[in-house]
Amino acid sequence: MVNYVEAYKAGLNSAELSEKRKNEINSVFNDLNQQLSDATDGKIFISRKKLLDRSGFAAFDLFNRKYYSAITAENPLVKNSEKELAKWSQDRSGYPCKITLDSDAMYCEDKQGLEISLYELLSDPIIGETLQKLQNLPIPEKVGTEASANSISSDDTDHAGSEG
């Protein structure tokens, strides 16, 4: 007879491991944000989000909208300042995760691998330029006023229509 209890227990163990890894990945991004916030007086915040696929005619197909995951950066002091930095994907069990730029595809096999890859991402000159522009955005007098993400000049990373 097939031992379903054994399979059930294996599933629970996998779920537990997967949860542990996802928490670990969250902790890496929390550490990253803490360090960036300290270094920029709270002007840079990194997130992982689902964005609407605007390539080709995809965005116009209202019934078959496609989304993808991305690493984004925003200046929390300026509304609508979010910019896409890289595409992001993550295995159901946590690892590997993958960070994709036009010029690089980085698979992260574990926590240290993710840290190294994020380090590489932040060292990229185009990413550096985007973050610098976000950091230098003029802060509106009242936080929360519609402001000037548009003052970031249009470039390759400028397609971050967030869908939450």
């Binding site: 690089d104 595809a105 698979y107 691998g113």
Partner: protein, 301 residues
């Protein structure tokens, strides 16, 4: 129309450290000249090179028909050491990407992906150029070698997801693994079985299974002057020959699209005079170039 691809590990600057004498650098320039200007190869990827090596090759060889892509992207504390040259009236480079896998404090260099448009023929061609770590730094039984194959397979899957099962994919390089090693056969799924590869779109075909030993049978009066592989190490205890350098083809090239593999022309490139340097332990050269050829078949419909 025919397109030819060559991979050659030049042995010039392993791990980015220059070690060649002027005479040895001249040998490399002469080889590049023969491959591109005399044999009229359309794509040449070179391994163990640096920015300075490429500059010298450009200055020394007459490469007016070629564009050069320096692929020396950073990978953790190390760099990719591959570059490639391509005939600009046949191929147009539309993108290139460095593919890495970070595990612990190591950054494994999986491949550099170059995407071309074959001019006048629309459909993209994806070329993956790899120089996997030496067995000195990554043991032949290390799980990392399996990981190299798994992630290269993932990168191929990404292309297939985007371009469909008839995606034009060519993989070439010095894998420091042989066709029968798990990284290439099991993880990458590069098979010896051409008939099966023609039927199963997910399989890749590796013609270099045919280049694992001397091509001619032993005979009493025959000579053994052919190559027994693509890499020669004179101190090998069981064998001095390895087939580390390979070119691997996707399903599309096995009679399933207008571009076909020409397997007769595909193999180890034996440039006159070069073998003497490869088997000479005092020389730096230890790899032969390998050649892969595809041809466009005119439809008779």
């Amino acid at each position: 129309m025919r397109l030819s691809f060559v991979w050659w590990n030049t042995s010039l600057s392993p791990a980015g450290k220059a070690r060649a004498t002027n005479a040895q650098r001249q040998v490399v320039c002469a080889m590049v000249d023969i491959i591109l200007n005399q044999m009229r190869v359309d794509f040449l990827a070179l391994g163990e090179t640096t920015e300075q090596d490429v500059k010298e090759i450009e200055q020394t060889c007459k490469l007016t028909e070629f564009d050069v892509e320096r692929g020396f992207a950073k990978a953790g504390r190390s760099h990719f050491d591959t570059c490639f040259l391509y005939r600009s009236n046949k191929l147009s480079l539309t993108g290139s990407q460095a593919i890495t896998a970070a595990k612990g404090n190591r950054m494994l260099k999986i491949a550099q992906k170059a995407t071309f448009e074959i001019l006048g023929h629309g459909k993209p061609l994806h070329v993956f150029i790899s120089h996997w770590p030496s067995r000195l730094w990554c043991h032949e039984n290390s799980s990392d070698r399996n990981l190299l194959g798994i992630r290269l397979r993932d990168a191929v899957e990404d292309v297939i997801a985007e371009s469909g099962k008839l995606a034009n994919v060519i993989l070439l390089g010095d894998y420091n693994d042989e066709p029968f090693d798990a990284s290439l056969e099991k993880q990458l799924m590069a098979t010896r079985d051409r008939v099966l590869a023609k039927e199963r779109p997910h399989l890749l075909y590796n013609p270099f299974w045919q280049h694992l030993s001397l091509p001619k049978s032993h005979s009493t009066y025959g000579t053994d002057d052919d190559n027994g592989g693509t890499y020669f190490h004179s101190i090998g205890e069981i064998t001095r020959w390895r087939t580390f350098d390979q070119i691997i083809f996707s399903f599309a090239f096995l009679g399933n699209s207008e571009w076909h593999l020409n397997e007769q022309l595909t193999g180890i490139l034996d440039v006159e005079g070069y073998k003497a340097m490869v088997i000479n332990a005092n020389e730096i050269f230890d790899h032969f170039p390998v050649l892969g050829v595809i041809e466009k078949v005119e439809s008779h419909g």
